[in-house]
């Protein structure tokens, strides 16, 4: 029995590598955007052209090096995508769900980092560009990054429906409902295309400070759930041998562990 499990673990190396790369990628992405390039939290949408030039100048090396790193490693966003696509294929639902997700999130890489990296690199490369043009690049970078949530919305909903109708127990239903919470925040960001200031702007109290923590919670949840899924996966096609984790059970155990 132990030997079989060992074999299976070895056979799961593709899944485990994908999982570790996913964690590393999200970690790197956060560090680059928040600490290195300091492009998040986003710049204020209401900056005048001169102020946007100063914004770029302030972050000259951070942007170039940070986004250079993304230009090298951004393609590894496909690893998370492949792992989730596999999880959907493992479900009892039609492959159409998995392939929809695959394409949607492959496309998502373009507004997800390509636009902002190109726009900001151009902005920072030429400090003597006219301020109005610099402001245009600033707008292009932030709006495309924050505002293009349609792909993520549709993608989240596809995954959610697949989870809720799945009979193989790949992912727990509560995560399906959490996906709905996340999908709704992607609707909430739509007004960021309209407002230059206020709570719904892309740097606003709702547009950024509520939305991003919800997305963070969602991401941490699915990373942990994917790890649990890989452990339970039998690399077959039918229902998984063990049911998905129940959040109440975890909460209860956590409470007991703290109290004990």
């Amino acid at each position: 029995m132990t030997q079989e499990r060992g074999k299976l673990r070895g056979a799961k190396r593709e899944l485990w590598l994908a999982w570790y790369v996913t964690v590393a990628f999200y970690g790197l992405y956060s560090v680059v955007f928040f600490a290195l390039a300091r492009a998040q939290p986003p710049g204020r949408p209401w900056l005048d052209p001169g102020q946007t030039v100063a914004w770029f100048a302030d972050r000259h090396w951070g942007l170039l090096i940070g986004f250079g790193l993304i230009f090298v490693l951004g393609g590894f966003s496909a690893v998370a995508l492949a792992l989730i696509t596999y999880s959907i294929r493992r479900m009892s639902v039609s492959p159409a769900y998995a392939y929809s997700y695959l394409i949607l999130y492959a496309i998502a890489a373009i507004p997800g980092f390509m636009f902002i990296c190109v726009a900001m690199t151009c902005g920072v490369m030429r400090p003597d560009l006219s301020p109005v043009t610099t402001q245009w690049l600033y707008d292009l970078g932030f709006l495309s990054f924050v505002g293009t949530m349609g792909v993520f919305l549709v993608g989240s909903l596809i995954w959610m429906v697949a989870i809720l109708i799945d009979e193989n127990g790949v992912l727990p239903r509560w995560f399906g409902y959490l996906s709905l919470v996340n999908a709704l925040t992607e609707v909430v960001i739509a007004p960021s295309w309209i407002f230059q200031r206020g709570v719904l702007a892309y740097n606003g109290a709702i547009g950024f400070w509520v939305n991003v923590p919800v997305f963070g919670l969602y991401t941490v949840a699915f990373i942990l759930l994917l790890r649990d899924f890989i452990r339970r996966d039998d690399l077959g096609t039918g229902p998984l041998p063990m049911p998905p984790p129940d959040v109440w059970g975890h909460a209860k155990r956590a409470v007991e562990a703290v109290g004990a």
Binding site: A11, K12, R13, E14, L15, L17, A18, L64, I65, F67, G68, L69, I70, F71, V72, L73, G74, G75, F76, A78, V79, L81, A82, L83, T85, Y86, R89, L102, I103, Y105, A106, I107, A109, I110, F113, M114, C117, V118, A119, T121, C122, V124, M125, R126, L129, S130, T133, W136, L137, L235
Partner: protein, 241 residues
């Protein structure tokens, strides 16, 4: 499996396969035709100089970029042939194949976008030089720095080949090392924004010549290797039948 079924599938794949030859010829032609590649336009050029570039040799700029714009995506079916060969690899899950499919669209999209910028710059040569400079910058940065999908593609293929643990692997082992080398020489181009002169600038030896020659070499080597892989597939299927 009845021989009739096998040969239809193989003929279909061969049709896609042989498109790589005319495609490669078109790409090389377009590359030589575009006056901005030999020598590459300098990032240090002023707005006036860049505007002047788009006023001379307009036909060459436009036709070469139209060719690239049309055929830039034509490599995708061949990438899918590689993805299909991955089905025959000794993997336990399709995860690596999904990785390849996931990035297959990315590099053509990046390339396509840069051709759009070049074509827009060339469409109205009497535009304000500042706007032309901006458009030119966007084209060059997208083209030079927009390499994440290529690097990921090379490394996914390398890993897939390395983990193809069977007596007769789909691709020979050295293909894995080859892809790693190609990925490594492509990495410096991502940082082209940091330099306006020297080998790492977008007109430099490393970010321009090494990166683009690497792509050309990759196409030729993978195409040659794909041929044996497809033949191997056919033999394995017939042996199983």
């Amino acid at each position: 499996m009845p021989p009739g079924e096998v040969s239809t599938s193989r003929v279909g794949e061969r049709i896609i396969y042989w498109t790589w030859v005319p495609l490669f010829a078109i790409w090389i032609t377009a590359f030589l035709l575009f006056p901005g590649f030999i020598p590459p336009v300098s990032p240090r050029a002023s707005a006036a100089e860049v505007a002047e570039f788009y006023r001379q040799d307009l036909s060459r700029i436009r036709y070469s970029m139209i060719l690239f714009n049309w055929f830039g995506v034509a490599l995708i079916p061949i990438l899918m042939l590689i993805a299909e060969r991955m089905r025959g690899m000794a993997h336990r899950t399709p995860v690596l194949r999904f990785c390849v499919i996931g990035v297959a669209g990315g590099a053509p999209i990046a390339f396509l976008t840069s051709t759009v910028f070049w074509l827009v710059a060339a469409f109205r040569p009497d535009r304000s030089p500042d706007l032309t400079l901006l458009t030119n910058d966007l084209a060059w940065v997208t083209f030079t720095c927009g390499v994440p999908f290529l690097i990921a593609l090379y490394l996914f293929i390398a890993l897939a080949v390395a983990w193809d643990d069977q007596p007769r692997p789909v691709f020979p082992r050295w293909i894995a090392w080859f892809n790693v080398v190609i990925a490594l020489v492509t990495v410096p181009a991502a940082f082209a924004g940091l330099a306006k002169r020297g080998v790492f600038a977008w007109d430099g030896l490393v970010s321009f010549w090494v990166k683009n020659v690497a792509i050309a070499v990759w196409i030729v080597v993978m195409a040659w290797s794909l041929r044996s892989a497809m033949a191997r597939d056919g033999e394995v299927i017939e042996a199983g039948a």
